[in-house]
Amino acid sequence: MLRHPVSTQNRGNNIDLPEVFARWFASRGWTPREHQLELLAKARAGRSALLIAPTGAGKTLAGFLPSLIELSERDGSRTDAAQRWPAPARLMDGARAGLSAGGLHTLYISPLKALAVDIARNLERPVAEMALPIRIETRTGDTPAARRQRQRRDPPDILLTTPEQLALLLASPDGPFLFAGLRRVVLDELHSIVTAKRGDLLSLGLARLFRMAPRLTTIGLSATVADPDDLCRFLVPQPAGSEARADLVVFSGGAAPQVTMLEPGEDLPWAGHSARHAFADIYRLIRAHRTTLVFVNTRSQAEMIFHELWRMNDDNLAIALHHGSLDVGQRRRVEAAMAEGRLAAVVCTSSLDLGVDWGDIDLVINVGAPKGASRLLQRIGRANHRLDEPSRGVLIPANRFEVLECTAAIEAVAANAQDTPPLRTGALDVLAQHVLGCACGEPFRADDLFAEVITAAPYAGLTRADFDAVVDFVATGGYALKSYERFAKIRLGPDGRWRITHPRVAQRYRLNVGTIVEADMLKVRLVRSRAGQHGYSGTIARGGRLLGEVEEYFIETLVPGDTFVFAGEILKYEALVEDEVYVSRTSATEPKVPAYEGGKFPLSTYLAGRVRRLLSDSHHWAPLPDTVREWLTIQQWRSRLPQPGELLVETFPHASRHYLVCYPFEGRLAHQTLGMLLTRRLERARLRPLGFVATEYALAAWAIGDAGAAIARGELSLAALFDEDMLGDDLEAWLAESALMKRTFRNCAIIAGLIERRFPGEEKSRRQVTVSTDLVYDVLRRHQPEHILLRAARADAATGLLDVRRLGEALSRIKGRIIHNHLDRVSPLAVPVMLEIGREMVYGEASDELLRQAAEELVKEAMG
């Protein structure tokens, strides 16, 4: 990370480095870079600042340089060993002495604990070489309890940690003592933290630090974003009624990345995400480079490609696999091997989007849809951490629509366009967690805490009523029925301060801190296969090798005997025993369950817009391969190319069903929601819909009734079918039973502290003392629909798994601009989404209908 590129000229910046630093730079043959000095100048002037720079620009050194210099110049630097390591007997005295000599000076916060550990290692080198009297330590979930205890009493000069650990420190009674003298917070990878609830939690922690440490300033380090202003506001306290911003320092220069698309051949698929047609090309590219990162969008894709690359690996190239579900030890081994340059390629998911310097990567391959311009740029930036050489990236489209998306992405990269999302509105469930944390730290006055919370940029618009509702929730659950006063977690004392009612409350808070709610994961263990029988009651040899973890909901779709790809091989599902999935090796060559779960990230609105423009005008088709041009030309001739701003709806019969296909280009999540709502309306119109399937670009619904004919006869109005009012009652009715909504509610309930996290190993004992959040959701929805947790869940649904907001914007945009084409057969543009039927999960009506079918099948089976 502290690898320092040989500098270009330092163009007359007047900031002088202290001599010891100047000598150190010179000894390494370096000159300080302009942005490093500029950031130093901001720090000296007592200003907070945001540095935007690509990887390889010496960003981390820039972030730490001001602190290293200040600490080296500090009066009474702590060089006395006795002072640095106080005897336990005079712990508090010693720590206070330490405080007078400095105390904790700089806090560094990273989204990854591996990054914190790596940065600490890298910082130790300049500190040692300059013999600076600076103590640097990390604090993560892995730090031993004894050291964490000691760090609170006798803090280092620089502490490197994560947002969750910061929340824990703030919730301890030592917080005020620990942070009173804090001078700087360095926030790394800020662009990545602020997009999720973790950023909300961090913003609240930051607001608290600003109050505890009056002389505090911040430095944010970020990749390029669409709106740096958002991050500049995040970094400083927001005054009531107006806005404040940190200063902005932007690194300019560096070679532009070179991104190309692998020219697809005649065999380019119409649909699917496997990119099977390109495996041989990927292998060739890997062979021709030193180290290649192969990014894919989903875990199952990573598994598949890894598996196939090894099948053709005649050269025995060192190709490794990395994704978030693999065993941690396994992942660390891959990372270490990569840093040492021992790997030819790593097939990975977003698990490697962020992180430490992975050595000499000279090529990044992105398989499948890039999804967003900024996302792609950041991935490609992982290649060649040297500024004078361009990063090289190759995009591999897996189907025809992805060719359009890759082409649009390459144009976006050339234009240096960014599409990172705007700053979040702070979530209420996260606020609830923070309020409880504050009470665990020290008793608080509601007025003071509210004033503090609204200085955090994501919460600047929070109303006092919502804040009070959150405090009420934390205290007694916030229910209209005031029956839990005696069970309160926090209570208002006669001194006007809220305090926790029992030390147990603080203990529980500490176990449940954080905003990352993992999907319930099950361990995957390799066992010997049993012949024949399946089910719960059989005995299986226990204690096989642990392969990693898989989401519970994936296993729920499997039947014992099904085969799927995991950890690089094809496995057979044997049984679920407590929280472990037992699998065995199998001789099958094709997995039965394709298990494509679309990536977490939907297509960005910006990139979708570019794809639409590209598609709509044949003058832009020059860069497209022949097969794709031909496809679009026939579409133009047979139906129509969707124009920007309009919604094309095609209806046609196919295989004794009637289809309705539309092309909103709003991403799979918004399309799924649209599909759910649209089928309800088709049901009401007595068209008897049977199901639908959604892709990033299109939605196809099929029915027994003929929607096209109904439109032609004037019995069905497309304007009414796609009216915004579907987001009213229809949405509410669907949310009542939506599994996605229930999952969203569960996450909010855990973050807000209503129910507790499940910990591995506790599953069995806890099952008896837990209550299903689905049942809680049903009851709460009926009895208190405006409860704060339901509001939090609805806010999440607007942007998360249901993407309701994007759908709403789209529906309002296309009003009066719906074009209907009634065709006699499937259109070329509809083929990709039609091919997803049977491959993607098919959504149907309420599950009662499915139950009826299952019962009928059973009858047939019994009578046949």
Partner: protein, 242 residues
Amino acid sequence: MKGAALRATDADRVELDGLCTEASLEGASLVLDPAGALYWPQERALVVADLHLEKGSSFAARGVLLPPFDTAATLARLKSVIMRYAPRLIIALGDSFHDGRGPARLAPGDRAALLGLQQSRDWLWIAGNHDPGCAEGIGGRFAARIALGGITFQHEPAPQLQGVIAGHLHPMARLNVRGRGISRRCFVSDGRSLVLPAFGAYAGGLNVRHRAFAHLFGTGFIAHLLGQHRLYAVAGARCLPD
């Protein structure tokens, strides 16, 4: 729920229009209601199991502040079933309260609603493992079990016993239909004995493929899954394990 579709016309006859399922046990003909209750027309007895009233406040006492509306929700559903059948006897098959102090925690409104349901009919609290003793202020009579016309009603089912109707296990069945997993509470019966689904709003479920059911029924049982308006019968062997 189309409540009027099914009503008690007299003590012995109930008209069915396909919403409910008829089951028989020891020669008695029983009605399984999709709300999760069992009605025995001949005795005009309505049976519900595992109400787990005051489960929310039981959790709250331990620091998990679940919404306190579960008792009201459970009683409201029970009321609608009672209105449909107008039984002369109600049997609550144990675990009616989530814990022994549950009756004391009842909110005044909920207590009044419960006592209101008992007007002009008999109410029998069968002892469960969560609520083994008698309690004050909740009306009704208390018993460990009761035998009625050859059928024994008790909280816990027991293997090798003929004619037992019980609760305790909270049966839930899981199916995979066209790639979608569906889980529902259900009745379980092999024609010799029968287990009711839990009726309580916060009561969880135990998969019918769990060994506890194999222990009782072997593999030859039918699960009657609760749908919105009707029951769906599925052979136990066709239900999925967890």
